[in-house]
């Protein structure tokens, strides 16, 4: 007989049954159960199979320290892999599936792997599968490794919240010490938050209250009421997962499967850690067998869930304080045997459930073993905060020593295992007073029995045995950090909560050293596994990266525009509801034969204002801007200090103290930050100001052979005389200022008219109306990319890479001639900048009738049967205007290879092309000022 439910015991609600299935069979539990307690109550012992050897596994613990009972759970059609059965609250309709087991945990076909254990030592895959090639074996090993199964149906509906909170005193852990500290601090007038990871407060009180003559629930209720009436805040189901920089403590509140957790980023002036302690396993032969549990788990299952884990229970421990545990289990009808844990040659009998122990040659019949090699304080948060540990010989464990002044550790987490002393300690620490001395607590040191034949488990979840630790020792992996990585001890989901001290103790024995000489590994957050959505919060999809919207969006939609994202802006890709190809060909034709009417509002518009504005723009631009006359516009590059092209665009001079920078639409924020940096670093910020006006203006562009006629008819400017390409004028539209710039992205005569957003729709409609008479029409972003590629006009970041300097793009003059200092200047004369082998921007032409070149195709040189890349294709389109494919590429030495044939290679396919000038259309520029 194994587990059974005891009437009137525990905190569960027997009036509320909950139905669930395990490996396909129907069971029921009660409200208040965890998946583990409900399964144990049904008599089930085997919950899962182990990671490597597929050994049957049950539970070791009753809470987050359990390394064994990992299950996949489906609820409402959604599957949740790798849930801890011991911490997951049971819910109606759960379909629980054991991991690493097929067809079931009880009858797993891969259980035979256990027979091959001799061939599967630590690191076996590094050694065995290296020849002939690891990659041959990798898929099979990957398939066999891992824990739960990720199903296709995942919930995408989680809406988690991230909250930022503050309090005077944060208490982590709602056991006797934590509750006392919270009450005392709250009653002393502090703002208090108490968190506990269970649904019910009380901690270890449930297993120790019995012997003290206390009713645990009443005691907890009394403390809770006192804390709350003093204004204290209590969060249950909440785990403090880690302490981060500047005292930030992350608290994760579990809200059940299917509901995203809440993450609180808490900052407290004073933090009290009362996280308790856990039992550590005793190392003996077959100590992983189902039915071997921790002493505290045995009592927790009874006290919290009304489940007696076995009928014939053997206590195997060195702990001096288990009498309360014994009494409670005996009162629930179990028969008890006590076994001295320090006896050599202990062995467990039984496979799927323990049936007995052999101790020093003597057999003991039992169905359950409650074991403990002593208690390990949960000092994770203390270590995260930089607190130190000291080895306590009496307690045979590490306990907190020196540490930060704002954090204190109390109760079992500090090695204070006695109830009364813990309460006194909590009272003192809550008032920031010195703690009273601890009472004496001594356990017999238990070292692993190296002479014992048979396998003894150290890390249950990763199947690491004493032999693996011995192998690591033989191969000189003796540092704890090496031991950990070589054997994967402590690297499973439980992060070594139960295995750490056992592993250290084994290595200490092997090295003939003491445990503190061996040392500990680093404690890292999170304390328990946390679903990623807790960290994501609301930062998802468009909430993570909101789209920028155009004032003219309704106008575009009215014209059946296909909208697309371009550099963070939602812009019209093409119009008329056609498919992309048809629309782009039509719009290119309109642009080249009549005029394109485009919404250019997304282009950055940054104003530089002030008496030092001219000096400033001359410094941040590669091109000379000191002699740009009012009313004139110049194209230029901004460089990073390492000489690389950072942005390109035009800049207009309004007057000597006002300039308007037009930068790439996707890059406006970065350009703004770049300019601010230099403004505050190298200029007097009172004499030059920078202002991003991008969102304040809407811009309608008219570009094409009929552009002048359309603009003349619009009447924004009185006349278009003496208004050449690259100049700026101010006119008016409906009585409001209209800025007109002669700049071109298409190579045709072009006007950009900017007005206030609230006049944009009127301007747009009027332009379309006039344009229609001339054969002009709306043109979207896709056709524009073709039109600019025909001219060889680059897009920074697409046609440039992390090595491109301006002279690679055919703009070499300022590098040699500009005398004033500018950002990136000196870097343009480095050895690398002067190299002959730089990649330069060129065009590529394919033979008549050949298809477009793929973007990313490499230009290669064949030498001795090996291909070397000389560069790659950056832009590739079909040009309707030229009736052939066009492409831009960055090619090593391309500038001096005009007309030369080149080989290309892309995903196993060879192509050929001829190097040409980057400008494929109207190279003389006759159309730009027609």
């Amino acid at each position: 007989m194994s587990g059974m439910r005891i009437k009137d015991a525990g905190l569960i609600d027997p009036s509320k049954p909950i139905k669930f299935t395990f490996d396909g069979k129907a069971y029921s539990g009660f409200k208040g159960d965890t998946v583990a307690s409900a399964l144990l109550a049904t008599g089930i012992r085997v919950f899962a199979r182990s990671f490597k050897y597929h050994r049957p596994r049950s539970v070791w613990g009753a809470w987050s320290d359990d390394p064994n009972a990992i299950v996949d759970i489906a609820l409402d059609g959604i599957s949740y892999p790798n849930c801890q059965a011991t911490t997951t609250a049971l819910a109606e309709g759960m379909e629980v599936r054991s991991i690493n087991a097929w067809p079931s945990a009880e009858r797993d076909v891969k259980g035979v792997l256990d027979l091959a254990h001799r061939f599967l030592p630590a690191g076996f895959y590094y050694k065995m599968f290296m020849w002939p090639d690891w990659h041959l074996f990798e898929p099979m090993i990957r398939k066999m490794a891992g824990l739960g199964t990720l199903e296709k149906e995942v919930s995408d509906q989680f809406q988690s919240a991230i909250l930022h909170e503050h309090c005077d005193t944060l208490i982590v852990g709602g056991g006797p010490a934590g509750l006392t500290a919270a009450r005392v601090a709250a009653e002393a007038g502090k703002s208090v938050t108490l968190v506990d990871d269970h649904a019910e407060l009380g901690g270890s009180l449930f297993s120790m209250a019995h012997a003290r003559g206390l009713n645990a629930s009443d005691w907890v209720a009394e403390q809770t009421a006192a804390i709350q009436s003093a204004g204290g805040h209590i969060l249950t189901d909440t785990t403090a997962i880690g302490v981060y920089d500047h005292r930030m403590i992350s608290l994760v509140t579990d809200r059940g499967l299917g509901t995203a957790p809440i993450l609180r980023k808490m900052r407290a002036d004073h933090v009290i850690i009362a996280t308790g302690a856990i039992d550590r396993p005793v190392t003996f032969v077959n100590n992983d067998r189902p039915g071997i549990m921790s002493v505290d788990a045995g009592t927790e299952y009874l006290a919290r869930y009304g489940v007696r884990v076995g009928e014939k229970i053997a206590f195997l421990t060195n702990r001096p304080d288990v009498s309360t545990n014994l009494e409670q289990l005996a009162a629930a009808g179990a028969s008890i045997d006590i076994v001295e844990a320090a006896t050599p040659h202990i062995q467990a009998i039984g496979t799927k459930s323990i049936t007995g122990l052999v101790v020093g040659g003597k057999s003991i019949s039992c169905d359950t073993v409650l074991a403990s090699a002593g208690q390990t304080p949960l000092v994770h948060l203390w270590r995260h905060a930089g607190g130190k540990l000291a080895w306590d010989e009496d307690r045979q464990t590490f306990i907190p020593s020196a540490g930060p002044d704002w954090m204190r550790v109390i109760g079992a987490a500090a090695g204070t295992f006695d109830f009364d002393v813990a309460v006194q300690e909590a009272t003192a620490v809550a008032l920031k007073a010195p703690a009273p001395p601890r009472s004496i607590y001594k356990v017999t040191p238990l070292r692993p029995d190296l002479a014992n034949k048979g396998r003894q488990w150290i890390d249950f979840q990763h199947d690491v045995t004493l032999k693996d630790v011995a192998l690591a020792h033989r191969e000189n992996m003796v540092s704890v950090e090496h031991l950990k990585r070589y054997t994967t001890l402590g690297m499973a989901g439980d992060q070594g909560k139960t295995s750490n001290i056992a592993g250290l103790s084994a290595m200490a024995e092997l090295k003939g050293q003491s445990i503190p000489e061996v040392g500990t590994t680093t404690f890292r957050p999170p304390f328990v596994p946390v679903p990623l959505e807790a960290f994501r919060g609301t930062k998802r999809d468009r909430q993570m990266a909101p789209l920028k919207r155009l004032a003219l969006e309704p106008e575009h939609r009215a014209l059946d525009a296909a909208m697309g994202e371009y550099g963070g802006w939602l812009r019209p890709a093409w119009y008329g509801g056609d498919d992309e190809k048809t629309a782009v060909v039509r719009e290119c034709k309109i642009a080249r034969e009549a005029a394109a009417i485009m919404d250019s509002s997304a282009l950055g518009a940054i104003e530089v204002i002030g008496p030092d504005a001219r000096d400033f723009v001359n410094f941040v631009y590669y091109n000379t801007m000191s002699n740009l006359k009012p009313g004139r516009i110049r194209y230029g590059f901004m460089l990073s200090e390492s000489g690389l092209v950072f942005d390109d665009g035009v800049m207009a001079c309004v007057d000597d103290t006002r300039f308007i920078i037009s930068c790439s639409s996707s890059h406006a924020d970065a350009v703004m930050a770049h300019l601010e940096h230099w403004r505050q670093d190298s200029f007097d910020p009172k004499r030059v100001h920078i202002h991003d006006t991008t969102v304040n203006w809407s811009t309608v562009t008219i570009a094409g052979p009929k552009a002048s006629d359309i603009v003349a008819e619009l009447g924004v400017l009185e006349n278009l005389r003496d208004f050449p390409h690259m100049s700026l004028r101010f006119g008016d539209f409906e009585g409001e200022e209209a800025r007109v710039a002669r700049v071109s992205f298409t190579g045709d005569t072009s006007f950009e008219i900017s007005v206030r957003n609230d006049f944009a729709a009127t301007l747009w409609r009027k332009t379309l109306e006039i344009g229609k008479k001339h054969g002009a029409g709306p043109v979207g972003a896709e056709a524009l990319t073709v039109l600019r590629a025909e001219k060889g006009y680059i897009l920074v970041g697409k046609d440039t890479d992390g090595e491109t300097m301006p002279h690679d793009l055919g703009f070499g003059a300022p590098r040699l001639k500009k005398s004033a200092a500018f950002v990136g200047d000196r870097s343009l004369h480095s050895e690398k900048a002067n190299s002959e082998a730089r990649k330069q921007l060129v065009g590529l032409i394919v033979k008549d009738g050949e298809p477009m070149l793929p973007i990313g195709a490499h230009i290669v040189r064949n030498k001795d049967g090996k291909r070397r890349s000389l560069g790659y294709v950056t832009t590739s389109h079909y040009s309707p205007t030229l009736g052939r494919p066009i492409a831009l590429a960055l090619v090593e030495g391309g500038e001096h290879a005009m007309g030369e044939p080149v080989d290309l290679w892309h995903l196993g396919q060879a192509r050929s092309a001829k190097i040409a000038a980057s400008c494929a259309f109207d190279p003389e520029g006759a159309r730009i000022d027609a």
Partner: protein, 88 residues
């Protein structure tokens, strides 16, 4: 998460800040001859102090650059000050 005191906005979360370089690095006068070594030192070399470190940071939400002295071991912020006495 760290918290930094912006001299203009007060204590804010670290995600609102960007590191902009170590303090005290002056841009060489590029109109004069500068050796490759000197330029490289300016561009790429950092003291990377272990312990107190004077650094330039920008509070991206107010766009002001400022000097922060912080301990790179303990992560403690020792002081912050504006770059200019009365920054705009």
């Amino acid at each position: 998460m760290q918290q930094f005191p912006c001299p203009f906005c007060g204590l804010r979360d670290e995600r609102e800040f960007h590191f902009a370089g170590e303090a005290g690095k002056t841009r060489p006068d590029t109109t004069k001859e500068i050796s490759d070594a000197d330029w490289t030192t300016y561009l790429y070399y950092c003291t990377n102090a272990k312990g107190p470190s004077r650094e330039i940071w920008v509070h991206t939400t107010c766009q002001e650059y400022f000097v922060m002295t912080r301990d790179t071991v303990s992560m403690e912020v020792l002081s912050t000050e504006a770059l200019n006495e009365d920054a705009a």
